[in-house]
């Protein structure tokens, strides 16, 4: 997969520029430390969240408990209202004679009075009947809002109804709640007991509990938006805290209500506190409970917006605080690493580079007042020691070279005398051997001279006196001097200077030294081979008075050394271009170092000390100039040096 360019650039920048290795280490360390409060914060939020959840759960459970308790009270109060003490000894309320019920003990009117007393006390009773236990007949019926049915209901047989059977067994019967157009009804039946404890009949009532239930849920709400609702056994919503209109809504298919009403015991793992999307499409925290008889689901739902308002606020602050701490840690780690550690280390690093370049008189300055400053001071002490050693070495080289020059010069002179016959005639063999001694001695003299020059330079004893000079005559003089050498290798000089060249500030002797060295090298490193047949080009060769003299057509040329000048601002640049072997890029970097020599197959036979270019560089720089090289292997090299133009030229 390819990394997007901008991302790559960003990471590279972060990696290389801002986050060096040390800073990265510091960053990781600081972030690791900063993550600790982050973890603690998260843990705190987690605990806070759990506590809040528990608190919400507790609040909701309290409401459910309260609702259930009030529901219980309501049902109990209806049952209590139905409890009648029947003070006549009997085991039946009516007898059946000729298929007609005959009141045994008391008249129908008396029953009516009893029932009137009950319905006056409880307006929620829509229908109340007294059922004779032995026949199952409804002996008395009272329906305050539907008096027309009292007559038709009377003597209907209710003996098969569960409510009647249950109450005749001496138990309180509480039926399920069911929906009618008038409201939600509940059937409650209680035994009618005599003083002897007989149960000759039962009292059955249909009570409209809608208002009571509505009141209970309306009074039990959670803050502004939390609500309670109750569903019947079928999942039909009966009442809701916030809405009083009838609900033709079934919540039986809702997971939570369905689980609560399932005809099995709730699993111990079932959490009564749930979070889900409510029937009305809002996310809520909900708790639920089951009212046992009649079986009802009581559910409290609290929209999360309100339930978590405070916790969300606190959580948000926690997160912002943590993120700020983390960011601050990152910034601090970068700052500390940069300011306290990386900066001073970079100064030390620059110091080591200066030592490598031999600049031992520039101390490392670090002002941190800590161990790193101590390290920098030790570093400076080390530099002082190295400088002393360097001075001793230079002194040694200077003295050694100086002391060597006298004997080698003497050797040279005496051998020359011997060769010239000062000691008598020499046979050919002796001459041959002595010639080799002369050559070796010559190389030794050169080496000693170079060493002395280097030693002078390093000891600051290299004297240069610059005066305004014409460059052209000096170059011509050097070319003339080196012509025999060039001719030996069939190398052609090309020099066509501009007559209007300005004067330069230079030391004539030193400038010649530089030119001899550079042009000499150009000749030396142009390897003779079967060259092209050159033809004199108009204006391309020195004039008749020039050092090379005209060449004739057909003469073999193995290479060319071209010298040209160029005015660049306040500098006069001289280029010495050859067609020699060229120098590799790698070698070019070290070319001006002491004792460095380009070692290739082609140059291994060429002798030299490796000090020439070093000395040239010292001289040019001493004359406030600069020197450089451009080269390509196999195509030749161009050595260039620039010197300041004399002020009078402007």
């Amino acid at each position: 997969m390819r990394t997007p360019t901008f991302l790559y650039t960003l990471t590279e920048r972060l990696k290389n520029q801002l986050f060096g290795k040390l800073i990265r280490k510091m960053l990781i360390f600081m972030v690791s430390i900063a993550l600790l409060p982050l973890v603690i914060s998260y843990q705190s939020i987690f605990i806070m969240n759990s506590l809040h959840r528990a608190e919400v759960g507790r609040t909701q459970d309290d409401i459910i408990e309260k609702v259930m308790s009030e529901m219980n009270k309501e049902i109990d109060s209806i049952a209590v209202a139905l409890q009648l003490q029947y003070n006549r000894p009997t085991d039946r309320l009516v007898s059946i004679e000729n298929n007609s019920p005959i009141f045994d003990i008391i008249k129908e009117s008396e029953y009516r009075v009893i029932l009137d007393g009950i319905v006056k006390k409880r307006a929620d009773i829509e229908l109340i009947t007294i059922v004779d236990g032995s026949s199952g007949l409804q002996v008395a019926v009272r329906a305050p809002n539907f008096q027309a049915i009292e007559e038709t209901e009377r003597f209907k047989n209710a003996g098969q109804l569960e409510s009647v059977k249950e109450a005749l067994g001496g138990k309180l019967y509480v039926g399920r709640i069911y929906a009618t157009p008038r409201g939600f009804m509940i059937d409650i039946a209680v035994p009618l007991r005599t003083a002897e404890g007989n149960i000759p009949g039962v009292v059955v009532a249909k009570a409209n509990v809608k208002s009571a239930m509505q009141k209970i849920v309306s009074l039990n709400r959670l803050k502004q938006t939390g609500y309670v609702y109750i569903t019947d056994e079928q999942g039909r919503m009966l009442v809701h805290s916030l809405v009083t209109a009838p609900f033709p809504i079934s919540l039986a298919s809702m997971g939570f209500v369905e689980t609560l009403l399932a005809p099995r015991e709730l699993s111990p793992e079932f959490e009564t506190l749930q979070q889900y999307e409510s029937f009305w499409g809002k996310k809520v925290i909900a708790s639920g409970g089951v009212f046992p008889q009649p079986k009802l689901a009581v559910v409290v739902e609290w929209p999360i917006d309100e339930a978590n308002a405070l916790i969300d606020q606190v959580r948000g602050r926690y997160i912002i605080f943590t993120v700020l701490v983390l960011n601050l840690s990152i910034l601090l780690s970068i700052f500390i690493a940069q300011k306290i550690v990386v900066g001073p280390i970079k100064i030390l690093e620059a110091g080591t580079k200066r030592i490598a370049w031999g600049r031992l008189d520039e101390p490392v300055i670090v002002k941190t007042g800590d161990e790193i400053e101590g390290l920098a001071m030790s570093f400076n002490e080390m530099m002082k020691g190295l400088k002393q050693l360097e001075e001793l070495r230079e002194e040694f080289v200077f003295i050694a070279a100086h002391e060597l020059r006298t004997p080698v010069t003497a050797i040279k002179g005496y051998i020359q005398m011997v060769l010239e016959g000062a000691t008598g005639p020499l046979n050919d063999k002796t001459k041959e051997f002595l010639t080799k001694v002369v050559d070796a001695n010559k190389r030794l003299v050169n080496l000693v001279n170079d060493l002395l020059e280097v030693a002078r330079s390093e000891a600051g004893r290299l004297t240069v006196t610059t005066v305004p000079l014409e460059m052209v005559p000096i170059v011509r003089s050097v070319l003339s001097e080196l012509k025999p050498l060039a001719d030996e290798k069939s190398i052609q000089f090309v020099y066509n200077p501009d007559s209007s060249l300005p004067k330069t500030m230079a030391d004539e002797g030193r400038l010649k030294e530089v030119l001899v060295n550079l042009i000499g090298n150009a000749i030396k490193y142009t390897i003779p081979s079967t060259g092209s047949t050159g033809s004199p080009q108009a204006g391309s060769l020195p004039g008749p008075e020039g050092p090379s003299g005209p060449r004739t057509a057909g003469q073999v040329v193995s290479g060319t050394v071209t010298i040209r000048h160029e005015v660049q601002g306040e500098k006069l640049t001289t280029h010495i271009q050859d067609t020699g072997v060229g120098i590799s890029k790698e070698a070019q970097k070290k070319l001006f170092e002491k004792f460095y020599r380009v070692q290739t197959e082609q140059t291994q036979s060429i002798t030299g000390t490796g000090l020439g270019l070093f000395i040239v560089k010292q001289i040019v720089e001493k004359m406030n100039g600069t020197i450089w090289v451009t080269s390509e292997e196999g195509k030749g090299s161009t050595f260039s040096f620039s010197l300041p133009i004399a002020a009078s030229a402007f």
Binding site: L18, E153, K156, L161, T180, P248, L326
Partner: protein
């Protein structure tokens, strides 16, 4: 500038990661999967016939010898009764089954005289004579030579369960799948009118396949709902027992 850029970039990444982590840790939805209610309201113990949309076509049926004694406000009487029936039905099925009703604008004059159809009392249920009358009527609907007006009135009721309701100008009551009939007197006579609506719905419930809730040997009501003892109570106090609605696919 570069420093501010890195600071902001780092901050944004950290905030994003922090919020993501917080979201993962603290804001998980623990939704209970809702149990989808695939079951539809259907005829009692007959899931193949869906009755979520019931289309009631109501008629005022008059024996031939009572054509002169047509009840003047029969149409309004029938409309109002059907309105109450529809409301009751809506409540009992929690809005999952709806009734749409129409009343045929003219009385239907039956072929025979009242004596051929009448039961002893308006509350006499499942009477053979009344059954014969409506079987005749049903046959006529399929007869090409039958009442064209009625056929047009019935039209086609696609995706609806068609039920015929008759207000009979005589005595008796009858109900079977797709058909319900009650005596006009059950709605107007002061002796019955208090529970006349219940009586109508009771017969209509038979049209939906619901059985009577009574002991087959003693004939005594075993339930207090509209299919049992409740049929003689006002509709406002009535209900259908959950055992029966469950048999019609109401999820419980």
């Amino acid at each position: 500038m570069r420093f501010i850029f890195y600071f902001v970039a780092t901050g944004v990444i950290v905030i994003f990661v922090a919020l993501l982590a917080a979201r993962l840790i603290f804001f998980q939805d623990r939704n209970l999967p809702p149990i989808l209610d695939f079951q539809r309201i259907h005829l009692y113990k007959n899931p193949t016939t869906v009755v979520e949309n019931v289309r009631v076509f109501a008629f005022y049926a008059v024996p031939s010898d009572r054509a002169e004694a047509i009840y003047p406000g029969w149409r309004d009487l029938l409309f109002e009764a059907l309105q109450r029936l529809s409301r009751f039905h809506e409540i009992q099925f929690v809005g999952k089954s709806h009734i749409q009703y129409d009343v045929f604008p003219e009385p239907i004059i039956l072929d025979d005289e009242g004596g051929a159809y009448d039961a002893a009392s308006p509350l006499d249920e499942h009477h053979v004579g009344l059954r014969r009358a409506f079987e005749e009527f049903e046959r006529e609907l399929t007869d090409p030579a039958g009442n064209d007006k009625v056929r047009k009135f019935l039209g086609t009721s696609r995706d609806q369960y068609r039920t015929l309701v008759f207000l009979y100008e005589g005595a008796g009551a009858y109900g079977k799948e797709g058909l319900a009939a009650i005596s006009r007197r059950a709605l107007t006579d002061s002796r019955y009118s208090a529970f006349g609506d219940s009586w109508l719905y009771h017969q209509f419930a038979h049209a939906l396949g619901l059985p009577d809730q009574q002991d087959s040997t003693t004939g005594l009501a075993t339930s207090d709902d509209i299919m049992g003892l409740g049929r003689h109570r006002p509709l406002d106090l009535n209900y259908i027992a959950p055992e029966l609605t469950r048999g019609m696919g109401l999820v419980e």
